[in-house]
């Protein structure tokens, strides 16, 4: 077994080692998710009538080969790098920088305090304002974030996943209204998948009933008022980052998606009205063929699920639309420039899968937030793919490969098995409530580490070809300005001192009453946002109606005497 002490990289190699390397064979013939692969795939591996029955051309049901007939000839994918650093002004500056360098979609991510539904002046928030994304506590912050950007023209992806997502939606709509735009003209998406976010450390902010309620409120509101807006990006990427396999990613993502769909149907919405604006966030890990097969299978399965289970009639309602985030957990701080290569392969698999929108991780992901240079390099990776490699010429270029078709079938079969298992447990909500899913994630994550420990999975810089500690981060280190964080805290304190408390209290009362009457929370949240209500105040008011503590951290009380 090949082993190397990381602290002894200067070990001398003998020429016997050279001979060993010369005759070396791969040590494993399994896919990343652990499936045995044959040495060659032939026509015998694909059923004869498969193409007509189950594959079809791109743009045709079940969309195995893509949702558009001409794929990238019609439009390139959106080059949408995630941005979120410190204050709204810091984040705005980076957004502009990427836009000026050829980014084609705006994409901002909320910081940990915002996602948790805390204002920056909360005692648990003050140390972490802006560390992992942009901090927004009021309409004023959203104004700064979107300053000078024509909201009627751009496509903006708002990454707030938790029960703070309806607040983000309200803040974005409120700012657009102030600039004279009807929400109907807004184009973009919001992540709005609070159910999955309990697995990302946000459990206090995302109790299941509140997640379904507020997530579905955003979906319902956007379906009725914002026809160009994608109202959820069900985040199977984050689930995959927990260490699970490719088919588990799809099965659990679909399970969560079905929770929202069933709530929207319960509310009386028509599947053909709302399903066309449903989207997913998918991981592309480092096994190129398995990721392509996974996504092709997901596309086919989603189309069948929508048609057969939910009775969708229009093609748009059956199409699996997705963005890809290259796998952050595949990246390493050891020999960090190697990450650029990993990201290139991962983004290649996204494009070969017919992705609609792509975020390439920056190479410095396992060290810090992206530096400007790191961010630009990630964007350049996308541009090389789009303009140099020729992968945009032909729809589904791997379709028809005996191997890829067979692996697509295998992925579908495995996803179905897991979905059946979840169904037998009593459905996704039961799998969540009984913490069955938590145990799956924990067991799989331990398994992934053991695969590396015992060299079942080889990773350059970790268990093969190791070197000593590098001297510096090649393109520098991104730091969050402590001044920006302090300013955010001061700004929200100032806002709370100076706003019209009567007007705000009236708006908060309306929000509370709407939620208590089982009405949609979004109109009340928009009104409260115009009245300078903060993120924590809006979320907290709804939490109380549901019987939860006003503060997810259970420290502060509501400032409103209702």
């Amino acid at each position: 077994m090949y082993q190397e002490d990381k602290n002894c990289s200067d070990k001398e190699k003998s020429w016997d080692d050279y001979l060993k390397a010369y005759y070396e064979k791969p040590s494993s013939f399994k896919s990343w998710s652990g499936y045995d692969l044959k040495e060659i795939y032939t026509p015998d591996d694909v059923p004869k009538d498969k193409y007509q029955k189950d594959i079809g051309d791109a743009g045709q049901f079940p969309f195995t080969r893509g949702i558009h007939a001409n794929m990238f000839r019609g439009r390139l994918w959106t080059k949408r790098e995630v941005v979120g650093i410190g204050s709204p002004a810091d984040t705005h500056a980076r957004l502009k920088y990427l836009f000026e360098n050829g980014g084609s979609g705006l994409n901002t991510i909320a910081d940990v305090t915002y996602e948790m539904g805390l204002d920056p002046d909360h005692p648990k928030a003050i140390n972490e304002v802006g560390l992992t994304g942009v901090n927004i506590s009021s309409k004023k912050d959203m104004e700064i974030l979107t300053k000078d950007i024509p909201l009627d023209k751009v496509s903006w992806s708002l990454i707030t996943a938790s029960t703070a997502a309806p607040v983000t939606m309200a803040q974005y709509i409120a700012v657009a209204q102030d600039r004279g735009f009807d929400p109907a003209v807004l184009r973009g998406s919001i992540q709005n998948d609070p159910i999955h976010f309990r697995y990302c450390g946000f459990r206090p902010a995302c109790p299941l009933d509140l997640s379904v309620k507020l997530g579905s409120d955003v979906m319902e509101y956007c379906t009725k008022h914002m026809p160009k807006w994608y109202y959820t990006t069900v985040n199977m990427y984050d689930l995959r980052e927990q260490g699970i396999t490719a088919p588990q990613e799809v099965a659990f993502g679909f399970g969560i998606a079905m929770c929202y769909i069933e709530e929207l149907l319960r509310r009386g919405l028509d599947i053909d009205d709302f399903a066309p604006r449903f989207t997913f966030y998918v991981s592309c890990h480092v096994d190129i063929f398995e990721e392509v097969a996974k996504i092709r299978a997901a596309r086919r399965m989603w189309a069948k699920l929508l048609k057969e289970k939910y009775g969708a009639k229009t093609e748009k309602a059956m199409q699996f639309r997705f963005a890809v985030h290259t796998a952050g957990c595949s990246l390493l701080p050891q020999q960090p420039l190697n990450n650029i290569v990993r990201i290139s392969y991962e983004s290649l698999s996204a494009v070969l899968s017919g992705v609609q929108s792509l975020h390439c991780c920056s190479y410095d992901e396992p060290m810090c937030l992206p530096t400007e240079k790191g961010h630009l390099q990630a964007l350049r990776t996308q541009q090389i793919l789009a303009y140099e490699t020729g992968v945009t010429n032909v729809a589904d270029p791997l379709g028809g490969s005996y191997y890829v078709e067979s692996l697509t079938d295998k992925m579908e079969e495995e996803v179905l098995k897991i979905m059946k298992q979840v169904e037998d447990l009593g459905g996704m909500k039961a799998a969540i409530e009984t913490e069955w899913l938590d145990h799956v994630f924990e067991d799989e994550a331990v398994q992934r580490q053991k695969e590396i420990d015992n060299n079942e999975k080889l990773i350059v810089g970790v268990n093969i070809f190791t070197e000593g500690l590098e001297k510096e981060t090649p393109l520098g280190v991104q730091r969050i300005s402590p001044q920006s964080a302090k300013q955010q805290i001061e700004d929200v304190k100032e806002l709370k001192r100076t706003r019209d408390m009567q007007k705000l209290t009236d708006a908060i009362k309306r929000l509370r009453d709407d939620v208590a009457d089982d009405k949609n929370a979004i109109p009340g949240m928009i009104e409260a946002t115009h009245a300078m209500g903060t993120t924590a105040e809006l979320v907290g008011t709804v939490r109380k109606v549901f019987g939860y503590h006003y503060d997810p951290m259970e420290i502060i009380e509501s400032p409103f005497n209702l």
């Binding site: 648990k124 701080p333 924990e442 280190v477």
Partner: protein
Amino acid sequence: MAKTKEKKIKAIVTKVGLDGHDRGAKVVVSLLKEAGMEVIYLGLFQTPETIIKAAIDEDVDVIGLSYLSGEHLIFTPLIVEEMKKNNFDDVLLVAGGTFPVEDIPLMEEMGIDRVFRAGSLTAEFVSFIKENVKR
């Protein structure tokens, strides 16, 4: 595990602040247990005060901090200060997570005995702990 004669090493593994990336911390808990240690996982949203109080109450040999949100330079000094304040500084303090290499010496200066980045192998951190427990 065969090491019944030796005193079991007792460790606390914890997250600090709001950072919710807990995959690594939970994996480390399982692997330290498999390596024969007694491990208490404090979970999310801990503060320097809750961590050190638990460490004293449980009389642990090791405290393992998991940082993945760039909060390591903020919380580490607060934790070390809390240890000193309680005269509980003969414990092994290790950290794991995502850090720029430039921060490793800074964290060591602050009082962390060893920093393990993503990509560390189990054998590395298990043997470091076994060889360096101070009590």
